[in-house]
Amino acid sequence: MSSVCSTIVAVCTCLGLATAADLHVCSDPDNLPYSNRQQQGFENQLAAMTARDLGRTVKYVWIPQRGPFFKALQQGACDMVMGVPTDFPAALTTQPYYRSTYVFASLRSKHLNIRSFDDKRLKTLRIGLQIVAEGDGDVPPAQALAHRGIVSNISWFRLNRNFLGAHRPASLLDAVEKGDIDVAIVWGPIAGSYARTASAPLALTPVSPQAEGDTPFAFNISMGVRPGDTNLKAALNSMIRGRRDEIRRLLDQFGVPEAPANR
């Protein structure tokens, strides 16, 4: 019956080829811990996991994550992007696959143990914040500090999107390690992955409260597809549900802090 078998194999192979369509993922070529061209980021691993589940092959479209990034998705340069806040308007977002938070990051040896924006020491400590290099926004902790009149002791660090050379998203955390600033308030995934390899141990504590007025400090993160692409969204949702534990293990490997669920 070898002929039957080989026929079946042939059919399977054909079907396999037919379903192994490329999954085009817009991804930043130089944005660890999320992604890079060498595919060392957790979003790269998640993309591979996703494609396996869908029976497709990842094809990257490398685009720095700036203004045209979401436009590229909308215009069909790719099928999906990996990490966007849930309900982010520029994409159709899946159910969240993780939730993280801004954290206070300081040298463990300083024993600061800051947990809240209301900590009086924040009025005098040297604080570092990221500047969002996009002209029309701030990181949320900036607003929490401004409401408390904490402005003059803040140093600003560019996200350092370096278009031509080395990418240093963590200059803010370098400054913590070197003692140039006492505490950085930084988005969890960046802080967590940095802390794994820092030469001096860092203490990371989620900010408190987790939201204030209209301002959240913790965000649900989803995958994003083209507005209208409900089929892919549904497929991704079922993948996220089915692989929840596996995804969490992946994020843990990269030190991504988990925030408590949104109430």
Partner: protein
């Protein structure tokens, strides 16, 4: 990311003859390209620099930035006969700001990105292009530029056409051969810097300003050696005095602008390093005082609550010595700007009778809706009246202190809603330059009546970090119009007439001439000639796209006068006309969509050079 914008340009001469060849052109006297005398000049008016009189060799035509030409062959009596004599597409669907130069019977056009320089031989109208120079700028600049990939033009001197490319270079190109003579690096894309402005050449220096104030760039103006491109000086718009080139010559008129290292002390910790204050507009020059004048852009970071203090030297007019860069005076127009009122607008130098004595004036129609008149020798503010009536963020300026009298309820705060701030961030006018006619004493201002509400927050996400953006939403101001072309009586600080546009802002530069005709364009594509005194439209022609460029005029090889302008909508407000910008989200394009929703019904992008003649 845009898949490389291909440069193609097709010649499509609208008329068989661009300029008639060999039809007995009168030999012109050398050095006849500029004039200092204006026939029938208004009483009590004196020009501060020579005027274009045949050629057009610098962005504004003249150093004083009047954009007034002494040519009068086209005048109120015959302008109704104006016709298209030639047109040429650039093939680039982006904003065509700035305007062409004409030098020695050659016209030079700088395109938006990829910033090609096209030379057209006016003596060989049917022939091929004289040459095209390609600078091949780095395409990554396209993703960094904030507000379309525009270029505002070139300057000519010493046999070279000199201009800036979006990817932070200044290039000097041999005006005859199209060969690159030198190329200088003037900025750093890694930190978000781009260059869109036109350089001004003063003696042996090429003066260049930068863009990128939306990205936390520390603004600066630099001077390059005309022969080699080597940097001669750089003056930052923030930081310690020695880096802002503030030294012993610095004598600001007002106390508010005096003190040591104000570029540091008017900021919180180190924030001046991201202080903005870029210079992407126009530079003027007074040869008699040997001073250049320019204004600086908005401060960084964006949230004003995070940078208490005046944030010097953002939103400031500087007077500097072009040889050394040293500041003579500074006047901060918008201390602690919270509304994105860049003040990179033109500063027009003219001498006028002011209260009974001749004074050296500097006219600055401000982004913030006030028409500022300063003494350009001292920096004293002589007058500040609203040119756009809806302006409400301040009631006026205190001429004794030089400070605006602000309405605190129109300050913006992140997370708090502030309704109906007028003008919007796009200003009572944008960078598009006005023109001053010494014959009428009127300044012709291309203006907007646009307001904004500012507040709430929306989620944004960049480089893997969630952030919160302000919800800025613009809309047409009260009165049933959004664009206004205003004739402003400088001496009496009041408008004398205006032409209103119901739907779209006026977003083109202006040209006035000794023929008492004023030219400007509209965003729906009309190119207009208006009677300089009465304000009635004498002639108009509907071009193929909205006009955001600056008209200029010149004498062709046949001795006739021509007027040229780019048609090709784009830029910050104009980008809403682009097919890939949705008009659905009022908050998109930094909030400008709300004010420009209808533009797609009126025009679409596509750059064309038009030449008009009799």
């Amino acid at each position: 990311m845009k898949p490389g914008i291909h440069v193609s340009f097709a010649m499509s001469w609208a008329a068989a003859v661009f300029l008639s060849v060999g039809c007995g052109r009168q030999p012109q006297v050398v050095n006849a390209q500029t004039a200092t005398n204006v026939p029938a000049i208004a009483p009590g008016v004196r020009m501060a620099s020579p005027l274009p009189n045949g050629d057009w060799e610098m962005p504004s035509g003249d150093y004083a930035n009047t954009r007034f030409s002494t040519l009068d062959k086209i005048n109120t009596a015959n302008v109704g006969n104006l016709k298209v004599v030639a047109s040429m597409t650039t093939g680039i669907p982006h904003g065509h700001e700035g305007g062409p130069l004409v030098v020695n019977n050659t016209m030079y056009v700088v395109t938006p990105f990829p910033n090609n320089l096209i030379a057209i031989d006016l003596k060989n109208p049917k022939g091929p292009l004289k040459w095209v120079y390609h600078p091949y700028p780095d395409s990554r600049a396209v993703g960094i530029a904030c507000c379309d990939v525009v270029n505002r033009g070139a300057s000519y001197a010493d046999g070279k056409i000199i201009y800036n490319t979006l990817d932070d270079h200044t290039v000097a190109v041999d005006a005859n051969t199209g060969k690159e003579v030198w190329r200088a690096t003037v900025g750093d894309m890694n930190i978000g810097e781009t260059v869109t402005s036109a350089p001004l050449i003063v003696k042996n220096h090429v003066i260049v300003g930068d863009s990128g104030g939306e990205l936390g760039v520390r603004g600066k103006v630099i001077a390059l050696d005309l022969k080699t491109g080597k940097e001669a000086w750089r003056a930052y718009s923030s930081g310690p005095d020695n880096e802002a080139l503030i030294g012993p010559d610095f004598k600001p008129f007002y106390n508010k602008d005096r003190g040591k290292d104000l570029g540091v002390t008017t900021w919180t910790t180190d924030q001046w390093k991201l202080g903005g204050g870029t210079q992407w507009g126009w530079i003027s020059y007074d040869p008699e005082l040997n001073l250049i004048f320019y204004g600086t852009g908005n401060p960084g970071v964006w949230n004003a609550d995070q940078r208490p203090g005046d944030n010097k030297w953002s939103c400031t007019i500087f007077a500097r010595n072009p040889d050394t860069g040293q500041a003579k005076w500074a006047f901060q127009i918008n201390p602690h700007d919270s509304r994105d009122y860049d003040e990179i607008m033109e500063n027009i130098a003219v001498d006028m009778d002011w209260g009974g004595r001749m004074r050296k004036l500097l006219l600055h129609p401000s982004r913030n809706g006030f028409m500022l008149v300063l003494d350009r020798e001292t920096g004293e503010l002589l007058s500040a009246q609203k040119f756009e009536a809806s302006t409400n963020w301040a009631s006026g300026y205190d001429l004794k202190t030089g400070l605006p009298m602000e309405d605190p309820s129109k300050q913006t705060h992140q997370g708090k809603t502030t309704e109906d701030i007028c003008p919007s961030s796009t200003g009572g006018k944008e960078f598009v330059p006005s023109s001053f006619s010494p014959r009428t004493g009127l300044l012709y201002i291309p203006a907007h009546n646009t307001c904004m509400s500012y507040g709430g927050v929306k989620a944004g996400y960049i480089a893997g970090t969630p952030y919160l953006g302000a919800s800025v939403k613009m809309k047409p101001g009260p009165g049933g119009f959004q664009g206004e072309f205003i004739a402003w009586d400088v001496k009496n600080s009041k408008p004398v007439w205006s032409i209103k546009e119901p739907v779209l802002p006026v977003y083109s530069g202006v040209l006035s001439t000794a023929g008492d005709v004023v030219f400007y364009g509209t965003m729906d594509g009309y190119f207009r000639a208006v009677d300089a005194r009465k304000g009635n439209v004498l002639w108009q022609y509907k071009t193929s796209s909205g006009i955001v460029g600056n008209p200029m005029t010149y004498i062709g090889p046949d001795g006739k006068q021509y007027v040229a302008v780019y048609s090709g909508v784009g830029g910050w407000m104009g980008a809403v006309a682009f097919p890939d910008i949705s008009a659905d989200d009022d908050y998109a394009a930094l909030g400008v969509v709300g004010a420009m929703k209808q533009i797609k019904n009126y025009t679409a992008p596509g750059g064309t050079l038009y030449v008009f003649g009799m």
